[in-house]
């Protein structure tokens, strides 16, 4: 499906719809900036990880979690600008074929958080075409909110890595993640059952 046929959705709304579907302690990695701000605003879960830096690494971090815990489904939320920084990661994921990893790209064509400057790809490149070209055949644009939910449902049952691209508006994130990296990491490890609290 071409991006121009897709509805412009809202990041917080779409993120909330994803979170509402998580019933099995699925891990969610929120990329830098608005991606994790809206994940935070959608309601903190112990299985959420919030990135306060390292732009572009939401999918690699999620890949690491997926490889460490193949029995747990892992979702990653990334902005289009962030993904542009690390397109090679798509091929790495396609090569490793984790069965439990789903990537969600929030595409507004701008670096919203720095002043809404257009990305170099805005109106030029198609993220789903890039993903498919990178070896991720299971990649699709979400046509609207209902279609997004359908794609998430499909992702819950799939046995290959997939990517869902969502065209979103240029609204900022609804919340602001508490910037406490040690606590974020530690609580995430508790949520994944790797550690017990002191």
């Amino acid at each position: 499906m071409n991006t121009r046929n897709t509805k412009v959705m809202n990041r917080f709304d779409v993120t909330s719809r994803l979170i509402a579907k998580l019933k099995h302690e699925e891990a969610v990695i929120g990329g830098i900036g608005n991606s994790n701000f809206d994940l935070w605003a959608a309601g903190h879960r112990p299985q959420n990880f919030y990135m306060l830096g390292s732009m572009g690494l939401a999918f690699p971090i999620a890949l690491g979690v997926a490889l460490a815990q193949p029995g747990r489904r892992v979702f990653a939320l990334e902005g289009d600008g962030s993904l542009l920084m690390q397109l090679g990661a798509l091929s790495t994921i396609a090569a490793l074929k984790p069965k439990n990893l789903t990537m969600i790209v929030m595409d507004n064509g701008v670096y919203q958080i720095t002043g809404a400057q257009p990305t170099p790809a805005a109106g030029i490149a198609d993220i789903v075409a890039i993903a498919i070209g990178s070896g991720l055949a299971n990649s699709a644009w979400a046509a609207d909110e209902e279609d997004f939910e359908r794609l998430v449902d499909e992702a819950m049952a799939t046995t290959e890595p997939g990517l869902i691209a969502v065209r979103i508006d240029d609204k900022p994130g609804v919340g602001t993640t508490r910037r406490d990296p040690v606590q974020i990491r530690e609580r995430f490890m508790h949520g994944l059952g790797v550690r017990e609290p002191l």
Binding site: A27, I29, S54, I61, G64, V65, L67, Q86, V182
Partner: protein
């Protein structure tokens, strides 16, 4: 002028013998249950990479960039699986942001092996320059790092450094010097 070839020197013996530097590194990784090995390749690291690929204990794969590999092992650590990243000096030079914004503030025991180029017979001026940025970057973040030059010290430094990284939840860089590996030399 003939096309110049780049070869590793004879000291970097091939094979999987446990007495070799790369055999010691592999066994020490295994003993410390480090099984996830993303890397950006380097000529000197080739025998290590080859033997890691051949050993089913390890999940060994190339990434497009070094910071991608750092993201992967960071995620794996949080998920309960240990990893280490292999790279060259010039690759380390791309890591300042991910060290300062992920590995250090989130207290992740990132284990890095850096094949050192840029010294002891370097033939590429750019490599010698980028090498000089490595230790200042490590020192500026107060990161633990060791330059390993001797085979008889390799296992001790590697084993103890991995254990320290894990227990103190802090990154470590193990710099594999040409005195240990033979390095990469310019042959006509």
């Amino acid at each position: 002028m003939a096309i110049a070839e780049q070869r590793t020197s004879p000291q970097a013996a091939q094979g999987s013998g446990e007495g070799n530097w790369h055999g010691i590194v592999l066994q020490t990784l295994k003993r410390n249950e480090i099984s996830l090995i993303p890397y950006v390749p380097d000529r000197v690291l080739t025998p290590l990479i080859k033997n890691l690929h051949a050993d089913p204990f390890f999940t060994t794969f190339a990434t497009a960039r070094e910071e991608e590999a750092v993201g992967i092992v960071s995620g794996a650590w949080m998920g309960g699986r240990r990893g280490a990243v292999l790279m060259q000096t010039s690759g380390f030079a791309t890591l300042a942001n991910v060290l300062a914004s992920l590995a250090v503030p989130y207290q992740i025991p990132l284990i890095m092996f850096v094949s050192e180029r840029g010294t002891l017979g370097e033939f590429n001026y750019g490599q010698s320059l980028v090498c000089r940025t490595m230790r200042p970057v490590l020192d500026s973040l107060a990161l633990e790092h060791h330059t390993i030059t001797r085979l008889d010290e390799l296992e001790f430094i590697t084993d103890r450094s991995i254990k320290q990284a894990v227990t103190t939840q802090a990154p470590v860089a193990l710099i594999l010097n040409p005195l240990l590996t033979g390095g990469k030399v310019f042959d006509k």
